[in-house]
């Protein structure tokens, strides 16, 4: 089990933070373009899911899997979006994302007086706490190839 990368978007689609750990393939486009593509894809998936759903969705889209990775998605009521790519065997990623929001994002970004909502997070404290949080999670594990 392993974690590849994390995107954090605000409700307007601005990339607030990006971090990566065991990523082995670059998409071949710049970080900004990649973020826009990811956000655009998620936006379409959300609309796709709400239309094709046989019942009224509450949370809507949760994750998708390919044969190489899984993309997990958490959206807070304020429109903040956490997107975490892991390998396909990872479990309880939703709980991990909720923890990440409550214990790292709220503590070190929302409570940071120097941060203005809607701007890129540059706080080094947040970056190190996030790194620590992800590396300590059971999903991060030892990389098996």
């Amino acid at each position: 089990m392993t974690i590849f990368n994390l995107y954090i978007f605000d409700k307007f689609g601005t990339l607030l933070h990006y971090a990566e750990w065991n990523r082995t393939k670059k998409s071949g486009i710049t970080r900004e373009e990649e973020a826009k593509l990811t956000y655009g894809m998620l936006f379409s998936i959300k609309s796709f899911v709400s239309k094709i759903s046989p019942h009224d969705p509450k949370e809507g889209f949760l994750y998708y899997k390919t044969n190489r990775y899984a993309l997990h998605y958490l959206e807070t009521p304020s429109g903040l979006k956490f997107v975490l790519n892991t390998d396909t065997t990872a479990i309880n990623v939703k709980e991990l994302l909720q923890q990440l929001y409550a214990k790292v994002w709220v503590e070190f970004v929302v409570r940071d007086p120097l941060w203005t909502p809607g701007t890129v997070v540059t706080s080094e404290l947040f970056q190190s706490k996030l790194d620590e949080f992800v590396r300590q999670s059971p999903i991060f594990g030892i990389r098996n190839i």
Binding site: F4, K25, L37, S44, H55, D56, R68
Partner: protein, 219 residues
């Protein structure tokens, strides 16, 4: 186990087959007093809820009946306009029935061609080399399983969440496709599938799966 639908998308991204199986009817009826506490959107073709939710009635639901009388678009069965009826205080209390809109064929074609780029982008954005496109997509109300054949045809099954072995079912559908569609001399590739035998066999398969589970499909 509930299978909601089967879709087949051709290699160029067009919907060539669709089967609705077990689509739940979501209808809610409620008696309202004046003034109406739902904000309605009066379209040229339908009346839908645009704000507020109540007792299962959600944003996007369409008005289907007023006091038990069916609504056709924006007029009642007896010719009265829905808007003037709902705006008049003397008509209250009034009983309204809302339902979650059913997907039209056009919407299905639209959604099927929408899945195609999502599938492609998911493989492009992969953090690992040599990734396929979306194989499983899960939401809180359903799971979508997709199987792409070597020739690029996508088989998609929408089912309830938490089912195992849908990939087996997808391969079985592929088998039926090869047997009853591709071997049909009147079928031309990439065209919508209209083969009675395929329809029957697929329905039989789904009925069997819903009754006895996926593990019992004969190989």
């Amino acid at each position: 186990m509930i299978i909601y639908g089967v879709y087949i998308v051709s290699k160029s991204g067009g919907l060539i087959f669709n089967l609705d199986n077990n689509v739940p009817r979501i209808e809610h009826e409620k008696t309202f007093t004046y003034p109406l506490d739902l904000v309605l959107d009066y379209d040229s073709k339908k009346v839908s809820v645009s704000f507020n939710r109540k007792d299962g009635i959600n944003v996007g639901h369409v008005l289907v009946a007023v006091n038990g009388m069916p609504v056709n678009g924006v007029t009642l069965d007896d010719g009265r306009d829905v808007r003037t009826t709902l705006d008049a205080p003397e008509n209250y209390p009034i009983n309204l029935k809302f339902s979650r809109p059913k997907m039209t064929t056009n919407e299905k074609i639209f959604l099927a061609s929408m899945f195609y780029p999502l599938f492609a982008i998911a493989s492009q954005l992969s953090p690992e080399p040599k990734s396929s496109g979306i194989e499983i997509l899960e939401a809180d109300t359903f799971t979508l399983h997709c199987f792409q054949t070597l020739t690029g045809i996508k088989f998609i099954i929408i089912s309830e969440t938490g089912l195992n072995g849908i990939d087996l079912l997808l391969r079985k559908v592929y088998e039926l496709y090869s047997d009853y569609v591709l071997k049909n001399p009147f079928y031309s590739l990439e065209m919508p599938i209209r083969c009675e035998l395929f329809d029957n066999k697929l329905q039989e398969l789904l009925a069997q799966v819903e009754k006895t589970g996926i593990s019992n499909i004969d190989k």
